[in-house]
Amino acid sequence: MDQPTADTLTQAPPPDAARQREALRRMLLIRRFEEAAEEAYMRGAIHGTMHLSIGQEASAVGACLDLETGDYITSTHRGHGHCIAKGADVARMFAEFFGRETGYCRGRGGSMHIADIAGGNLGANGIVGGGLPIATGAALAIRQQRRAAVVMCFFGDGAVNEGAFHEALNMAGLWKLPVIFVCENNKYGMSVSTERSMAVPRVAERARAYGMPGVRVDGNDLFAVHRAAGAAIARARAGGGPSLIEAETYRLRGHSRSDRNRYRSKEEIEHWRGLDPIPRLERAMRDAGVLDAAGIAALRAEVEAEIAAAIAFAEGSPVPDPGEVTRDVYEGGIAA
């Protein structure tokens, strides 16, 4: 059998000016959403924990840019970016984080279970690797239902070591399903570096074992991610089967709110801060004449206003009634 090669995944045309602007808007929205969530967490308005993807916005947005309404994504514990990239409403996201009835999960899920089934986001996941077989199954359903849709499956480098990764990629490759596996390799699974957790810390190479093309891209370069993802989406939609994309990136914040960053150096973090995908995209768009400084400022203001309105909406929303704690366990509410 001929194995598809990485070259398969370098063909997608670049987004036009309007879509570049939309991409930047979503990246800014993710960044500001997470900064505002962090701030709300600090002042005690949000409980639990949260995993910020600050610094990883290009991979979320680049991977989703060519997705259409009927397409799905599956996401992770670090899923705010994916959710916004797939088009979710930040007001309902904040409402979820604030534990309100107007949230995407009516306050039942919180950050780790943010989802938007109607919008095609099958859900963040508290289980590392949990989304991989689910994405594969959604792709199988798409095939059975003869739809032209695809599934974009996000996961981290840490998830690659889970059996679920192996089982899912094998089935997807075997059955040639319309799913794109996007590994956001940010070098660490919590505190453990890829060198300390993987016998071979190059994820894209794993694609060979599953009969699909694999490519490693600069995950902080929106265009690079989009190029690979666009090609993989087109390939999947045309019946060509799954792909694996490794987006090299970095989380600029700690793993979760309780991380003390003992396992990495200030220098490393500073190095990656210099590769922040948002200024990079802004620079590229300015250089290419797609958007000038004033245009960027306007976009930032637009995002700022959306965030402020969203928080106001969330804060003004009702909290769930504790008497309804066992509602929605089953359809129609038949409890044991």
């Binding site: 799905y72 999960c105 689910i134 959604a138 059975q144 089953y330």
Partner: protein, 343 residues
């Protein structure tokens, strides 16, 4: 009042044939595959091989490899594939070759399938059916003979049924396939070849309803799965000793039909629970506790007794294997002790 009620009664006036439990499941699967193109089967060796217990036999020939899917040996992945397909609008029926292998897939079953509707605020539905061949008696030893249904019944978001007859095997499976939530079905391996009357058409047995298989006055014996048959046999023997036992086939572990149980115990004043799974934290514990916190408590004339699997893995040697799970004589003796104590 004392007459033995046929253990299998089909829908009013339906024409029944005697077929095996395995064939009844086959018939349910076939009719669901015919009726709804969203339904598909997945599992290990369910295609040309026909399944380890020949339940899916010819279905791949009838419906093709697109709807009767042999998975790789990858239980966690297969369960996750089923969850994802259900979320995306299909209706998967997943077979574990032996329920023991579901230990590899608890993550997807319990963290994902069972919780998604709730975690997502009611905005998701996981219409997934999981078939679980279970139980001892085939000499397959500790890793192929477990009865783990109590684990699943402990998990909100799942429904758990355990049909004892061909009739219920078909009717509960069809009800499970209709259900918008995940349903786990425990099928005892020794039952596959047993036969009983089954209507030819499609029908549903409601999930969550126990069935009184033999009315009686002196004691309530609640049994699950294969133990229903042993309990009925024990009841016959007890009748010979002048004791009139009521036998209830629990059918559904979650939801639990406490109303039927409480009503029965209130009448008989004695309760014996019988299941094959390990006694400690088996479903008998829940039944006993549910009765002990109900109004029926004050009506009890004897302590509640449970018979369950011995406190060990299922052993291989035939004599040991038999000793590891309740037998007819154990049920008879336990019931007689309870009745005679009160007299």
């Amino acid at each position: 009042m004392n007459a033995i009620v046929s253990i299998d009664t089909g829908p009013e006036g339906a024409a029944c044939r005697d077929i095996s439990y395995a064939d009844a499941i086959h018939e349910a699967l076939r009719s669901a595959l015919e009726a709804d193109e969203r339904v598909f089967l997945l599992g290990e060796d369910i295609g040309v091989y026909g399944g380890a217990f020949q339940v899916t036999r010819d279905l791949v020939h009838r419906f093709g490899e697109g709807r009767v899917i042999d998975t790789p040996i990858a239980e966690l992945g297969a369960a996750g594939v089923a969850v994802g397909a259900a979320l995306a609008g299909s209706r998967p029926v997943l077979e574990f070759q032996f329920s023991d292998f579901a230990t590899l897939a608890m993550e997807q079953i319990v963290n994902q399938a069972a919780k998604l509707r709730y975690m997502l605020g009611g905005n998701a539905s996981v219409p997934l059916v999981i078939r679980m061949p279970a139980g001892a008696g085939t000499g397959a030893a500790a890793q192929h003979s477990q009865s783990l249904e109590a684990w699943f019944a402990h998990v909100p978001g799942l429904k758990v049924v355990q049909p004892a007859t061909p009739h219920d095997a078909k009717g509960l499976l069809l009800a499970a396939i209709d259900d918008p939530d995940p349903v786990v079905i425990f099928e005892h391996k020794l039952l596959y070849k047993t036969t009983g009357p089954v209507p030819a058409e499609a029908y549903r047995v409601p999930i969550g309803k126990a069935a009184i298989r033999r009315p009686g006055r002196d004691i309530t014996i609640v049994a699950t799965g294969i133990m229903v048959h042993r309990a009925l046999e024990a009841a016959e023997r007890l009748a010979g000793r002048g004791h009139d036992a009521e036998v209830i086939d629990l059918r559904s572990l979650r939801p639990l039909d406490t109303a039927t149980l409480i009503d029965s115990v209130t009448r008989t004043t004695r309760l014996l629970c019988v299941h094959e799974s390990v006694k400690m934290l088996g479903i008998g514990a829940e039944i006993s506790a549910a009765i002990a916190e109900s109004a029926a408590f004050d009506r009890l004339d004897a302590p509640i007794r449970r018979l369950g699997g011995a406190d060990c893995p299922i052993p291989y040697a035939p004599g040991l294997e038999r000793a590891a799970v309740p037998q007819v004589e154990d049920i008879e003796a336990a019931a007689a002790r309870l009745i005679e104590r009160g007299e």
